[in-house]
Structures are given as structure tokens and as C-alpha cells.
Symmetry: C2
Subunit: 147 residues, 2 copies
């Protein structure tokens, strides 16, 4: 029996714009953390995320699925989330714009690291990604709260 980190946020944007923020290196770097990739991320591509003040902690994600305006799925192939399952982003229409459901499944327990990552995802999705798409600027790592 495993558990997930799961969030759902309403964003006043279009499915196309949200998908771009999730499926390009520059998009991901604008709300989550610096990336090595800059352009379109297709199925099978590697997405290296650079954490730490100087980007010294490289986390490798692989794009497992990418369905324009609908969904993106990543798997962590190297780094602290290797032992979890996928990271999925599902986009649905909403009266205010779009509803994004995020799930990082396969956690063994709701331990301290889970609770830390869960709070961080709340910030990145409800604040950084939402602000990027609604007002034009996110708050990507290392500008995220030091929690």
C-alpha cells in the first residue's frame, strides 16, 4: 500500500499555455527549478532539474507521456524521488480556466520527507506556476521558500 502527493489547483489560463509551462525546459525553469533542457520535451526525453543555490544537485526526470493540452507524466530516474512512481499533471477545463491535478504516486509512507515535498509542491503549483500563467512571473527555485 503506497500513498501519493496530490494537489489540484485552478489557474486562469488556457490548456495550451499550461501545457507549454509543463512541456518545455524554459517553461519548467520558470516555475519549478532551472533545467538543462530549453525546448520542447517529448516522450522519452530526459529533463535534468538543477537544485541548490548553484544548481549543484542534478535530478534526472524522464518524460514518460506528453499529450498536448491534456497531460504530462515524468518519472524520476536519478535523485531523491527515484523510489517513488510517476509525477503526473492532468489538465481539465474549468469555468475559470483550467484545473490542474498533480500526483506523485508510489510513496511508501507519509514521512517527514513526504511532508516537506508536499508543502513545496503546494507552493510551486498554487503560487509559482499559477502566478507565472496569470501574472507573467513565477518564483522558481532557488527563490522558493526555504522550508
Amino acid at each position: 500500500m503506497t500513498t501519493s502527493i496530490k494537489h489540484r489547483v485552478i489557474i486562469e489560463t488556457t490548456a495550451e499555455q499550461l501545457f507549454t509551462a509543463l512541456s518545455t525546459g524554459n517553461g519548467v525553469a520558470s516555475w519549478w527549478a532551472p533545467t538543462k533542457a530549453t525546448d520542447n520535451l517529448s516522450k522519452g526525453d530526459q529533463l535534468d532539474i538543477l537544485f541548490g543555490p548553484n544548481g549543484e544537485h542534478v535530478v534526472g526526470m524522464q518524460v514518460i507521456e506528453s499529450n498536448p493540452s491534456q497531460s504530462v507524466v515524468w518519472k524520476c530516474v536519478s535523485g531523491p524521488w527515484e523510489n517513488t512512481d510517476c509525477f503526473s499533471f492532468d489538465i481539465e477545463a474549468d469555468p475559470l480556466g483550467v484545473a490542474l491535478t498533480f500526483e506523485n504516486s508510489g510513496w511508501q509512507a507519509q514521512d517527514d520527507f513526504y511532508a516537506h515535498c508536499n508543502a513545496k509542491w503546494g507552493f510551486f503549483l498554487a503560487v509559482s506556476l499559477k502566478n507565472l500563467l496569470e501574472i507573467g512571473s513565477g518564483q522558481a527555485h532557488p527563490m522558493d521558500p526555504n522550508i
Copy 2:
């Protein structure tokens, strides 16, 4: 088998100041949402939280435990979280200040409402409560992100 909303955040403050923000009506109103109570909340006290643009949605919480500088536990007695178990806030020392672990247990499933509330708690704890204690101002409802 139930699941929890669980977050952990580091805040650069003291256990005493964090406890005050969790155990007074004015404190809770400064980072979560307006309250009817203003002063100290002791075990057994009712804490009415006012949601909606004009505070028209009253959610009743009851203080189940209150241990100065250590922990606070609430139970929702009327409102949308009646069917969940407690809301617990546990304070521990951390090299940077304090570590706050929040848990709202007793959710039947990680459904859309769970995922919405989870994102909101991420904001209220990692941004609003943290900023209240570190820079002096929170972002309580209805100034929270419309997600």
C-alpha cells in the same frame, strides 16, 4: 484505511511565537482566515473560522489539545471537514528555528476536494504562516490564491 493531508515546514521563529500564531484567534486570523475568537484558545474552546468574501461560510473547529510551545489539535465540528479526523500542529526545534508538522487525518480518499485542500494548506503553511512569522505579514483568506 484512511489518508492524511500532511505538511512539514521550517520557519525561522521561536516555538513560543509559532504557538501564539496557532493558539489565539488573532494569530489564526493573521495567516489562515478571519475568526470570531480573538484571544487565547484553550482546550475545549470553539474556534469559528469565517470563509467567503464576506465571511458568510462559518466553519466550526474545536480545540482538542493545546500544549504551549509544543502542539495544538483541532477537530472540525461543523463544516466541510466534519468527516475528517483531527488537525494537528506539532512544533519541534530545528537548526534554523522550528519545524512545524501539520496533519489533517481521516480522509477517506485522495479525491479532488482532498487535492484542493492540500494545495491550500501548502500555501497557508509554507507562505502565509511562514511570512507572518518571518517578515511580519501573512496572506490570510480571502487574500489567498483562488485555486
